[in-house]
Amino acid sequence: MDTKISIEKAGKTFGDGERGIVALLDVSLEIGSNEFVTFVGASGCGKSTLLRCIGGLETLSSGSIKVDGAEISGPGVGRAMVFQHYSLYPWLTVMENIKFSRLLRIGREDLTSSDVEAASGRADALLNLMGLTHVRDAYPNQLSGGMQQRVAIARALLPRPQILLMDEPFGALDAQTREVMHDMILHVSKLEKTTIVFVTHDVEEAIYLGQRVVVMAPRPGRIDSIYEVDLPQKRDQDMKLAPGFLQQKKAILTRIRETAGMHTDYELLERMTRQAEQQNDMR
């Protein structure tokens, strides 16, 4: 597998001096072409920061991120990003949102009329792929959250990006919608041959979607461990109940809990329950 993204000793510090917060420390990772990598970790582990650095929305304090061997500086058309929410343009219809990148100068350079035709054909194809044909002329606020995310994904895919960066894209959706979206995005990944970097807080989602699950740890944000997912290429919702899946889920959850440095104080809870009971008895 060719390397698509190579992250070398990436470091990111917010603020400076003593009070600076180390969001990323010495993160190194190679992501292959058409690979689907998912990132999980306790809050503050820097998974979103890393994604934003790959997207070029944040700049690294040290180290480098290379795409196809070339170091990135700032956002680029080849790296599309899908956010958790509020990224659609409410004043544009679904179709206009999907075609937004066509309004930009960068999308118009050196275009022949056949390119333009091909692009509108692609917009229609994406509309179809995402099951949005019937809401083509609707405005985003007329759509459900799941439909809105489909529009956001279609919009990101329009200029045929080689890399799709997804920052908890399904985090605000209900469980049933999320399942549908999972199979949809897997389908897209196979069809479009896109490299997908996917950040989530949902371990089940991370295993189901990812070929590798990268667990990050907080304070300072770093890669803790990487799990190879041993599932058949063609995923199926029932796999989530298979023993192997559950075992891996448990292992990852335990690891995240250990790195989070947060634990439930059972002793305190018990003491409080006893006290409450005593008070009830006295009454």
Binding site: F83, Y86, W91, L104, R105, I106, R155, A156
Partner: protein, 272 residues
Amino acid sequence: MSSRHKISAGWSSLWVIRGHLSHRTYLLFALTGMLLPLAAWWGLSVSGWMDKVFMPGPLEVLSRAYTWFKEDDLMQDIWISTYRVIAGFSLSAVLAIPIGLMIGTYRPVQAMLEPLTDFIRYMPAVAFIPLVMLWVGIDESSKIAIIFIGTFFQMILMVAEDVRRVPITQIEAAQTMGANRGEIVSLVIVQSAKPALLDTLRVTMGWAWTYLVVAELVAANSGLGYSILRAQRFMQTDKIFAGIILIGLIGLAIDQFFRWLHRKNFPWLYKK
């Protein structure tokens, strides 16, 4: 029994917190809210508790408005006042919108202009009147200048706030699609802030009318505000009432016009 139960349930359902009102019920309440004060005013004027000179009734005010229209060139007063408001307000908007846009978009511009604007807007616009009269004279431009001073600085800050409220993800999404700075400003920030900007204009338009009256009370020999002041000199309270109500009505009309523009231009906000 059951019908009484129904009525009481209907009554209490009106008072659900953030509840829903049918169109008809809404109109009923709105009309009541408008007519009740009018009826109270009329009752007060016919009761004889207050001298007619100080408290003219609705009919007196209406007939005064009519003679004002017939003999005293009411339309000229309305025209000149409206002209001043629109001129001062437009001048202020034309300058405040780009400045506010820059403040809300670029941090150095914000650092340079926002504290200054914040400071100036707390200086009472009315206190500038003597200075404006010395500098600009007492012709039309002084009235326009006062309206400008009264609205401009507030407008800058409100526009800047509208621009800052554009969700950062909308901007970042455009960045990752390859938009350059100019495209982000024109295709995302301005488009996204437009509805809020129109609301800002609607609100500041109200303030422009307030400053118009101030300007005309002090330094004018025409217009609605001036007519109100002169009416006081001749104890024409009915004319004072007529002038105040007229300004209120014009303001209401302009406000409704802005709301209509809002619905017309931003259909996505009204489709659910």
